[in-house]
């Protein structure tokens, strides 16, 4: 069996027992990237020299019996939204092409402290604005299950890298579903922690009150280990929670024992009806049966304000985004255009640089956000959206009176063909229908596979109260174990061969 098909925990176990070296393991993943990434395009940059140097350093420390963290020597991919010292960071935008950060994002520093070799940077929609990676300035990522389809977004690169066995783990960021929706459509696992549970410092900001960094993995336990490695207070992020992170790995192990007796699980009426594909709902209903079989009680929960969450999200996200991307002005880093035009000023240079450096979705959201924040419209749009946010939090608070966790389909539909929604922004935004409410409320959420619909993966989402990420991991691990037993193998183990698919494409 190939090393790359092992879970991160299995890889860590082989390393700990010295049955494989980190250098071999890291090289195996670099070879896999060489083999398939021209078809998948999960990576924007690969960093073999740095990765192998760290792998050898871990091997040396292990050979001399030094204490090592649990994931030491297990390689990882990093979403190109997160600053990596010495490795180009583009955020999927032309305006940052060629930028080599002089610092590491806090989560990248933590991954390095966990002694994980960094394989490279993964593709994303420009500044994480999108649900398909098609808005990356450097071309889309392809879904490993069907190369003609989207891998989700914005973190399609991280999810595809994990699904295609190019990396066992990856970092993502989630503003409205950018970790969970790609996980759902690629048959993998992705978690958005409680807001403030993981540092955002060094991530290129999309919408600061919604953004949260989190893990992409193939299993719930793998995600738990990575989540625990990056969690915790960061004085450099003023929204970071100064309190001990929840015991996530323990909860995932507990959940995998398969007993949810006494657990009250709610199903949100507003997140399963209109707009959801019948096949996705079918897998969801079956997963509910499985949860009942594990001893959980299932009840329906009404969250009427969720009907407005999509609208509120669009306004808040676009408003914060338009403010955040103001920092790209052609002065401090990246692209500069129009400096030598006759009569050029700093302002004309800035406008020309942003026109040349931003893609269509970024322009759309910046203009929408500028509109929502402009005099005369502020109260009606941004102000009202912030009040809807209060209503959504109240709906969640009422739900937690009756339940310990909520479950929903993770996405309304499975992976659609590349190109299908690029010219239809509203249809694209609806990809995040089920994931948006948790960002507005700051609660943790994760997606795990619920099964296949016409050969394509569907996901189920587990939500838990703020600061209770461990509840979400316990439920998800229990469900994963039960579904895997029903299927006979993990869903991701059955993805069609990428080289055979691309061969078919070539023949066409």
């Amino acid at each position: 069996m190939s090393l790359t098909r092992l879970t991160a925990v299995e890889q860590a176990d082989l390393l700990a027992r010295k049955q494989v070296s980190s250098e071999e393991l890291t090289q195996a993943h670099l070879d896999r990237i060489d083999e398939v990434d021209s078809h998948v395009h999960a990576f924007l940059a690969v960093s073999p020299d740095q990765a192998l140097a760290e792998a050898r350093s871990v091997d040396h420390d292990r050979a001399t019996n030094q204490d090592l963290p649990p994931l030491a020597g297990v390689p990882i991919a990093v979403k190109d939204l997160l600053a990596t010292k010495g490795i180009p960071t583009t955020a999927g935008s032309k305006i940052l092409e060629g930028w080599i950060p002089v610092f590491d994002a806090t989560v990248v520093r933590k991954v390095k402290q966990a002694r994980m070799p960094i394989l490279g940077k993964t593709n994303l929609d420009e500044f994480a604005m999108g649900s398909s990676t098609e808005f990356s300035a450097f071309g889309p990522t392809h879904n490993p299950w069907d190369l003609t389809r989207i891998p989700g977004g914005s973190g399609g690169g991280s999810a595809a890298a994990v699904a295609a066995f190019e990396a066992p783990l990856a970092l993502g960021s989630d503003t409205g579903g950018s970790i969970r929706q790609p996980a759902a459509v690629t048959g993998t696992v992705g978690a958005k922690p409680t807001y403030g549970g993981v540092s955002r410092q060094g991530g290129v900001a999309l919408a600061s009150s919604l953004d949260q960094v989190g893990p992409a993995a193939r299993t719930v336990l793998d995600a738990a280990y990575l989540h625990e490695a990056i969690a915790g207070w960061d004085p450099k992020d003023s929204t970071s929670l100064n309190e001990p992170p929840p015991a996530i790995v323990h909860a995932a192990k507990l959940g995998a024992q398969g007993d949810l007796t006494g657990m009250r699980i709610g199903v949100v009426t507003q997140l399963k009806g209109e707009g959801y594909e019948p096949g996705v709902l079918q897998r969801f209903e079956e997963a509910l049966e499985t949860l009942r079989g594990l001893g959980a009680s299932i009840e329906e929960v009404d969250c009427p304000s969720f009907d407005y969450s999509f609208a509120a999200y669009c306004l808040i996200m676009a408003s914060e985004a338009s403010s955040n991307v103001a920092r790209f002005e052609g002065i401090r880093h990246g692209l500069r255009v129009g400096e030598d035009e006759p009569g050029a000023t700093a302002m004309t240079m800035m406008s020309a640089t942003r026109a040349a450096g931003f893609g269509p979705e970024v322009k759309r959201r910046v203009i929408l956000g500028t509109y929502a924040l402009s005099a005369g419209y502020y109260d009606a749009y941004y102000g009202s959206a912030q009040k809807v946010r209060t209503l959504i939090q109240r709906d969640f608070a009422a739900a937690w009176e009756q339940t310990d966790a909520l479950v929903t389909p993770a996405t309304p539909f499975t992976a659609f063909p590349l190109g299908e929604k690029v010219e239809n922004p509203l249809a694209m935004y609806l990809c995040d229908l089920a994931t948006i409410p948790s960002n507005l409320a700051g609660i943790p959420g994760m997606s795990l596979p619920s099964g296949l619909v016409d050969g394509l993966p569907a996901g189920i989402q587990v939500l838990a109260p703020v600061r209770r990420d461990e509840v979400m991991y316990r439920v998800a691990a229990a469900l994963e174990a039960a579904l895997t037993a029903q299927w006979g193998s993990p869903l991701w183990a059955n993805a069609p061969d990428i080289l055979r698919q691309s061969g078919k494409e070539d023949a066409r």
């Binding site: 609208a311 002065i331 700093a346 942003r354 203009i367 509109y371 959206a385 700051g442």
Partner: protein, 99 residues
Amino acid sequence: MSDITREEVARLADLAKIALTSAELDRLAGQLDAIVDAVAVVSGAVDESIPATSHPIELTNVMREDIPEPCLTNEESLAAAPAAEDGFFRVPRLMGETP
């Protein structure tokens, strides 16, 4: 219907400092009109009595100790600049010609 005309998009693009092309102005006017129509429902969903939430988990007065910490050197700060001179970012002049 909302009222996002081509002229309104041009005004917003000027505020946002993005030099949009004529074709972009046309396309965005139609798209933004549809998006704003879809999201305008928020104003009917709330009233005066509901407080606004700006952050999911409210923290107040987050400050760190007033102790100097290492930061980027001048050279590091300028490393990615498109143009730098004498330890400063270099930019085109700020004011245009007086007519």
